[in-house]
Amino acid sequence: MNTKRIFLRIIAYILVIIGGISFIIPFIWTVSTAFKPDEQIFLFPPKWIPEPPTIKHFKEVFEFIPFGLLYKNTVLLALLNIAGTLFSCPLAAYAFAKLKWPGRDMLFIITLATMMLPPQVTMIPQFLIFRRLGWLNTMLPLWMPSFFGNAFNIFLLRQFFLTLPKELDDAARIDGCSFFDIFWRINLPLIIPAITAVTIFTFMGTWNNFIGPLIYVRSYNAMPLSLGLRMFQEAYSAEWGALMAASLMMILPVIIVFFFLQKYFVQGISLTGLKG
């Protein structure tokens, strides 16, 4: 029995190590390509370690496209989306979870029902609205809606507000707190993990969003990295060194955020996964 157990553990280690290597290799391959001199990129069999490593491709990225501008746009968009989400969603979630008002349940049911609809249904009329407003080729369609809330985030935060004991609110009421005070000073601080998760999702969502910029933006002035990288690839499809360098620079902030907030990532994902 004991030898069988040891044997099984060895198998488990071998599988995990093989799996881990296959998952990490694409990253290593990308880094390797980004730092390789041109003549080593197309070698077959490939050379893993660039000799000598060069940062030429990273410089090229900034020469071929206005990469700094794209970066600035993306960071700005992420900040605006986070601000908008944190302004609109916790308040709405609190109203649904903790306050009594006529029409609450019906509005909540409508909110839930709209989550079932694929975004493609609303995509075309939204495009026509922003076109009518003259907002095409600006960043406005990419961040302004976040200030008006998002069904998924509101639902998620509501579930967290519901877990908080009602006695706290009642005690605060007796002490003469307004409802907004109760929200701001008592309820909100208790759901910080959920707020962090929503913030992370919003950041990731902005960094990831491709179809939005593709529909709304044409010029570099309003363009985020996702679409910029695509334009770059379209124009320089054979420049693998520069393409990998640009991809790495796009991935880097996300990875850094991930390593600093790893705990919250994992929490957030498990929470949403299990709550839903």
Partner: protein, 296 residues
């Protein structure tokens, strides 16, 4: 009297703080839902005013648009093959990592890391990895004496290439499975061991039933997500070769924003909703046969 005052204050506060969402829901969601439904019965090319054509768009979709069927087939292929594979691999990795191996945290990070990479970057990385001449995959295959296919340039291999690429992103599902595994009570395993259950039996009669609600949830979400696959195909293959990776939402996007057939694209969007709805209903109907809910 105070009771009345309290309620009034509560209601006023509620209406003030719900206002942004009330506006957002009306302007960006409910309004567009209504107009999209109307457009689906209209011929609308943006430059000319919309014209009512009854079921014309739907008729054209089913009877006169071979690409509609092609894109539907491609999308269902990805869903039927890709989603179960994804869940199976995520579950396997989670089960392995749950064996209290040394370095578990490190491996969990490694398996999860690809899931934080933006889709555009994933697409570029994998175009390079799948390069038929000097790409990594075909190099690895050549080590075993296998001549790798043309992948993205091959009508036959392009979709499988997307599925393999999708497996790199199992991290999210894996984390959810790991959380689910934490919730399986140890005493169930202890009891199973006392009864002489082997590894497979422990999985089949303890782990699987306890995880089945999680599997069910991931299956439903995976299907909904895969039915909307777009970015990868747009960047990596432009829908080719020979429309082998023209997925449903890609076709919809082309109709709406390349051809400006807004009415037709709206009809396609509503049909996508119906597909998602039916798929979810089927899942819910099948669920009682294999999903186990505690405390019921």
């Amino acid at each position: 009297m105070t009771k009345f005052k309290r309620n009034k204050e509560e209601i006023i506060t509620a209406y003030i703080i719900i206002l942004p969402w009330l506006l957002g829901l009306s302007i960006f969601i409910v309004g567009p839902i209504i107009s999209s439904l109307m457009f689906s019965f209209m011929d609308y090319s943006v430059v000319l005013p919309p014209k009512f054509i009854g079921l014309g768009n739907y008729k054209r979709m089913f009877l006169n648009d071979p690409l509609f069927w092609k894109s539907l087939y491609n999308t269902l292929y990805m869903t039927v093959i890709g989603v179960p594979l994804n869940i199976l691999l995520a579950l396997s990795v989670a089960l392995l990592l749950n064996q209290k191996l040394k370095g578990e945290a490190l491996f969990r990070t490694i398996f999860y890391l690809p899931s934080v990479v933006p889709q555009v970057a994933i697409s570029l990385l994998w175009m390079w990895i799948l390069n038929p001449q000097v790409g990594l995959i075909n190099y690895l295959l050549s080590l075993f004496g296998i001549k790798g296919p043309m992948w993205l340039a091959s009508e036959q291999w392009a979709k499988p290439a997307f599925i393999i690429m999708g497996l790199w992103g199992i991290g999210g599902n894996m984390v959810i499975f790991l959380a689910g595994l934490q919730n399986v009570p140890q005493h169930l395993y202890d009891a199973a061991i006392v009864d002489g259950a082997n590894i497979w039996q422990r999985f089949r009669y303890v782990t699987f039933p306890m995880l089945s609600p999680t599997i069910f949830f991931l299956l439903v979400m995976g299907i909904i997500g895969t039915l909307q696959i777009f970015t990868q195909a747009y960047i990596m293959t432009a829908g080719g070769p020979m429309d082998a990776t023209l997925f449903y939402v890609y076709h919809l996007f082309n109709k709406a924003f390349r051809d400006f057939h807004m009415g037709y694209a709206s009809a396609m969007a509503w049909f996508l909703f119906i597909i998602i709805f039916i798929a979810t209903i089927i899942n819910l109907k099948l669920a009682p046969k294999w999903v186990y809910y505690e405390s019921e």
